[in-house]
Point group: C2
Chain length 110, copies 2
C-alpha cells in the first residue's frame, strides 16, 4: 500500500479511536468526575461530597477505571487517617478542552 489509507482501514482506525473516546466519556458519572478535576487535584472525600448522587462503590470503580485508562492519576499518602488524591494525568489535561466542549452538544437538545 502506498501510505494512502484505504477507506476500510481508515474506518477501522476511526472505530478504535471512537471506542476509546467513549470509554473515557461515557458511563453515567465519568464526565462529571473529570470536570470536577478540571481545575485542581482533589481528595477522594471531596469528590464524594461533590457527587452526592454517586454511591461509594460506583465512585471508587469509576475512579479506578479512569486511572487504568490513563486519564487520571491517584496518589495515596501514608497518613492517619489515610489520604488519597486524584488529579488529571498529562493526557487528561490534554483532552480537557475537548471534554469541556461535549457539554455544548447538550445545549442544542435541552
Amino acid at each position: 500500500m502506498n501510505g494512502i489509507k484505504q477507506p476500510e482501514l481508515m474506518v477501522d482506525e476511526d472505530r478504535l479511536l471512537i471506542k476509546k473516546a467513549l470509554e473515557v466519556v461515557c458511563g453515567k458519572w465519568r464526565l462529571f468526575i473529570l470536570l470536577h478535576l478540571a481545575e485542581k487535584t482533589r481528595r477522594y472525600s471531596e469528590l464524594r461530597r461533590l457527587l452526592p448522587d454517586v454511591s461509594e462503590k460506583v465512585l471508587i470503580q469509576e475512579l479506578k477505571a479512569l486511572v487504568v485508562l490513563g486519564v487520571l492519576e491517584k496518589e495515596s499518602f501514608n497518613e492517619v487517617p489515610p489520604r488519597v488524591e486524584y488529579r488529571l494525568s498529562e493526557r487528561g489535561k490534554a483532552v480537557m478542552p475537548l471534554l469541556l466542549q461535549i457539554k455544548e452538544i447538550g445545549r442544542h437538545f435541552v
Copy 2:
C-alpha cells in the same frame, strides 16, 4: 438574584447540559450511527450494511432514540418495498463538528 449565576445554579445547568450531551453521544453505537450520517442521508438498509455488528433490534431502537432526541430525522416513503431514510436534523448538523472532535479524545489513549 442579579443575573450572575450562583455556583450551585451554574452546576445544575451544567449537569443538565452534560446529561443531555451524554444521551446523544453515549450508548455503544450512537456515535457510529451519527458519523455514518455526517455526510449524507442514508437508507435504513445502508445503515444496516455499514454497521454489521449491530443487531436489527438495537439499530432500530437507537435510531428511534436519536429521532426522539431531535438529532436525526426519519422519512418513510410509501413504496413497495417500503423505503425509510434517516438524515441529520438541523441541530444534528450543528453539533456534528463537536461529535467529530470526540474521536480525537480517543487518540490520546490508544
